[in-house]
Symmetry: C2
Subunit: 348 residues, 2 copies
DNA sequence: GTTAGCACTCGATGCGATCGAGTGCTAACA
DNA sequence: TGTTAGCACTCGATCGCATCGAGTGCTAAC
């Protein structure tokens, strides 16, 4: 285990490196500390910390930088009660969430932008995916003789829609009555059960009412596929180009993989969805990320919830040299505020 | 006016520079041309072309690169009938548009991705904004006692939705009947007239049916604001990070402004909306762009239409050194294909 | 009008000297 | 035993300088 002094030095090295992005030397620490220790003493301690794996040396005559393990220790043991979020920031968060909201998704986008502006990192918000939402309403709105829009409203106020073209052999009228029956039968069904229930009901109805079974199956296919793909929720990015502000990504070849990865929303979603089921707040440093492109980044995630049930994730991506002390409590406040807002709004 | 030989040389310089991204020397041209001209002759012509403003010299002992004016001449006069799109590419475009589509917006996103993959530039597709669409359907779906979702379906199959919370003093029931009346009165109205018509009708109904006028105006506000913001259409990006592949943007400080600009969807939309009303196909080279961040880029736009009416824009953004010869006809094919698909789908 | 020849320009590349921040080690000190 | 001053050493960064070569402009000859 580390001595108190070692912890203090590690902490100071991380704090300094986070700000300067340059290796921290023993003199710097010696001058900043008020324990009156000379640079030589610090050097000895630093050598020990390096041997233990908490520090690294870019090259022989450079200062030290924290290793991945060093950051991990810092986050796990040196941050308790360390809240470097200013009162002003907290009140900005509050005011962000006191605005009247139009829809869940708009709030998600707003949050991503807000967070990225505040931190100069890249923010990712995973749109709410409420598992215990039920189907409120299913409707078909005809556009013309062979085209219609199918609408689905959930109890959490999300709206899914898809334009469908009628196959030959099925009239709009037949389809409308089918949807009406489905609406009556499926309303109140949990969303994640919709697919299987819909399959049952549709095949049931089809065999009863429809003449052209083959074609109808095709339409059924469209709708079911749609249910699968759209329910995944959306990814909202904020400040993707903030990545380029960080000195460690000033080289295009370093930045490109990360930015390209961020463009693949589906992959981003997958990476964050994992965090949802885990702890309320999670920090993944460098190589701790499964995703190869994020090996030089840290990903901090916080889940937000409605009525106590986790429904989405707020994430922040930056270099491993992240300002954890500021950013972690910030994310905590943000997820808490978002949860409260959504809960107030959707739990009647 | 330029002589035939000058045009030929200009054309070869552009073609070479587009591929290599490096200044083109007289020897290179001399070897490639089959007219049997020596490097010295080419040099003389190049000096003339520079004096005329079509070429530039990065420094004294370097080859020449096309000036903005040079690109302009190339695009305007040297590209006629020059189609460098392969048959394979054309068939890929066709197959892209033969898939069954779920909704307009999905096609827009697909097109952006496809185009950026094909060209290694950044593609932007401006979602369809159909001016002569009418309102099909307006509905209110209640979520709980004080929250509801307002749905709006247009004749082109677009769905707008917004969650609204009932102000104190207005019951859900009152609201429902108001929406029903509105639906009956507004169905068939042209979308861009919706706002004013809705204002008329709502105030009319309000004074007739509702007790608490003040609060209702607030709700009205929500809805009207929503109509204004959501109808703008959306921007779909493809391959924003492709920008980083171009040698002229290998320096982060060059790339950052462009990427940041691309993140501001609203600004992108504004820039492209302008192109919509203009020509069918438009090329803006470097400083010809109004947007400061695009002064080192070229923006090529093509409008697509439904039933002959322009509804959206496909754009391609790259360095001024763009492969115009390939990209311009490509955009032409793409916008044509998209127009045909949408027309077939939405014009009954 | 075209071309060969040639001096000239100027960025790119490579090399060596210098600089300085920071280290590790040793010996002395409390 | 822990701390510190002193000192030699390391190594990236920076600068100056020589070299190289692609490409030019000009002149004179064809």
């Amino acid at each position: 285990m580390l001595t108190d002094r070692q912890m203090m030095i590690l902490r100071m090295i991380v704090d300094n490196y986070v700000l300067s992005a340059e290796p921290v030397g023993s003199r710097t620490i010696s001058k900043q500390t008020d324990l009156g220790l000379s640079a030589a003493t610090i050097r000895n301690e630093m050598a020990d910390l390096e041997e233990l794996g908490y520090l690294e040396q870019p090259h022989t005559s450079a200062g030290r930088i924290p290793s991945q393990m060093g950051y991990r220790f810092y986050v796990d043991h040196l941050l308790m009660g360390d809240t470097r979020v200013s009162g002003q920031e907290i009140s900005r968060i509050k005011s962000l969430f006191t605005e009247r909201i139009g829809e869940m998704e708009r709030v998600a986008q707003q949050t991503a932008l807000f967070l990225s502006n505040l931190t100069q990192y890249t923010a990712v918000v995973l749109g709410p995916q409420v598992y215990d939402t039920t189907l409120k309403n299913l409707q078909l709105v005809a556009l013309n003789d062979h085209t219609a829009v199918l609408l689905m409203v959930t109890s959490s106020g999300q709206v899914y829609n898809r334009t469908v073209s009628m196959p030959e052999g099925i009239s709009l009228h037949e389809m409308e009555s089918l949807v009406q029956v489905l609406n009556a039968r499926l309303a109140g069904t949990l969303m994640y059960r919709i697919r299987s229930r819909a399959l049952e009901e549709i095949t049931h109805e089809l065999t009863r009412h429809m003449r052209d079974y083959e074609e109808a199956v095709h339409l059924l296919d469209q709708v079911v596929t749609w249910l699968e793909t759209d329910q995944e929720g959306k990814v909202y990015l904020g400040g993707a180009t903030n990545m380029l502000l960080q000195p460690e990504f000033r080289d295009v070849h370093k930045a490109q993989p990360v930015l390209t990865w961020l463009e693949r929303h589906h992959d981003v979603m997958e990476a964050l969805r994992g965090a949802e089921s885990a702890l309320q707040l999670q920090v993944r440093i460098g190589g701790e990320n499964d995703v190869q492109s994020l090996h030089d980044c840290s990903l901090i995630t916080a889940t937000y919830s409605v009525g106590g049930l986790p429904v989405g994730v707020i994430g922040l991506i930056g270099p491993t040299r992240m300002d954890y002390a500021r950013v972690i409590p910030l994310l905590g406040h943000l997820s808490k505020g978002l949860s409260e807002l959504l809960t107030k709004f959707y739990v009647s």
